[in-house]
């Protein structure tokens, strides 16, 4: 009976990945030969050990994931309408400022203020004019007559009728 050669390293690896991928002769040899089977099992055990230590090195306790996205998704759902809402708000504002009603309101308001100011100015100017024309109060006008109402240095004061001479001011008398 012809003896099959042992499997080489590559064939052992191939057998480990997918034993059905080996040809019938090699597969039969592997099932019968303790040396080859031992090699395969050793490699398999090494890989299993690698996986086991890897898994054991993972923390046992950790923060569990949860579907907390209810809130987040709610917000995102609301935000989906944000551009539309912003557009509507902008349109409303624009309409408010540009419609004729708004312009008229503005004009009426401005005119009212201007008229009030004009009236106030007119009243003020009339008072100024009256003062210019009649600088003395009514009492003095009655005494001196309308022609002498204008103040003048040469015009005698109320004491002139009683021969009262005006006293000249002494130099520095105010300072003394």
């Amino acid at each position: 009976m012809k003896k099959t050669k042992h499997l080489d390293d590559n064939q052992i690896i191939a057998a480990l990945i997918d034993e059905n991928g080996l040809n019938g002769l090699l597969r039969r040899h592997l099932s019968e030969c303790p040396t080859c089977r031992g090699q395969k099992e050793q490699l398999q055990a090494g890989l299993a050990q690698f996986g086991k230590i890897s898994r054991d090195s993972i923390p046992l306790t950790y923060r569990r994931p949860e579907l907390i996205d209810n809130r987040a998704r709610g917000i995102s759902r609301n935000w989906k309408f944000a551009p539309a809402l912003a557009f509507i708000a902008a349109a409303v504002l624009l309409a408010f400022f540009l419609t004729p009603i708004a312009v008229d309101k503005d004009k009426i308001f401005t005119r009212k203020v201007v008229y009030q100011e004009m009236l106030r100015d007119q009243k003020f100017m009339a008072e100024v004019k009256t003062l210019e024309e009649n600088p003395l109060p009514g009492f003095y006008v009655d005494i001196s007559g309308p022609d002498e109402a204008k103040p003048n240095a040469a015009t005698p004061g109320p004491g002139a009728k009683n021969n009262v001479k005006p006293t000249p001011e002494k130099n520095g008398s105010r300072n003394a």
Binding site: G21, L47, Q49, K52, P59, Y62, P65
Partner: protein
Amino acid sequence: MNLTEDLELKVSPGSEQLSTLVEKAREGDRDAFEKLITLHQDEIFRLVFFRTRSRIDSEDLTQDIFLSAFKYLPQLKDSDRFRPWLYRIALNRVNDFHRKNRFLAYLGITESREEADVADTEPHHDPGALDTMIRKEFWVHVKRLSKRFSSMEKEVFFLRFVDDLNLREIAQTLHKSESAVKTHLYRAIRKFKEDTTLSDFLKGEWQDEKDKTS
């Protein structure tokens, strides 16, 4: 018996009941999705932690992965492919995380993962000092082995032996043919076998385990 164990008895991955849960969740049933989370949270957290080695980042990413899954579940056509689909999301998130970290490290905003690794390999479930040392040594071996792998070899090898996915699931997760997966796995195992330091380390560990059990 906790909820996970209870659910696992009733709904083993790949069973009809799992498909039903996925169908219900796809129609917006939150309870069904909560059950799916309970069934898969440990394996997804394990996948993420093994690739990030940071508990906080892993927790955040796991949360993120399940939220994405819930959001995009209606797009899943075949409910039988839920597990590979979930793993695909997880791997994408982990890759995004690494990409972002590399960019931030490049800008000098965060420290590189090489430095961060040391802190996060600290014990997580109160092992003894010897156990801690063994685990630290193990991570050193893993890092060295990872450097020898190509990116695809690394993914295939870890999905097969750490995450315990079968060849079909790996193919579906990585969107590769089964023969391509076999080729990458073959190369990865050869590199693993050539790493005599790791083999010796594992032999010692394995022997200890056998001594404990006998």
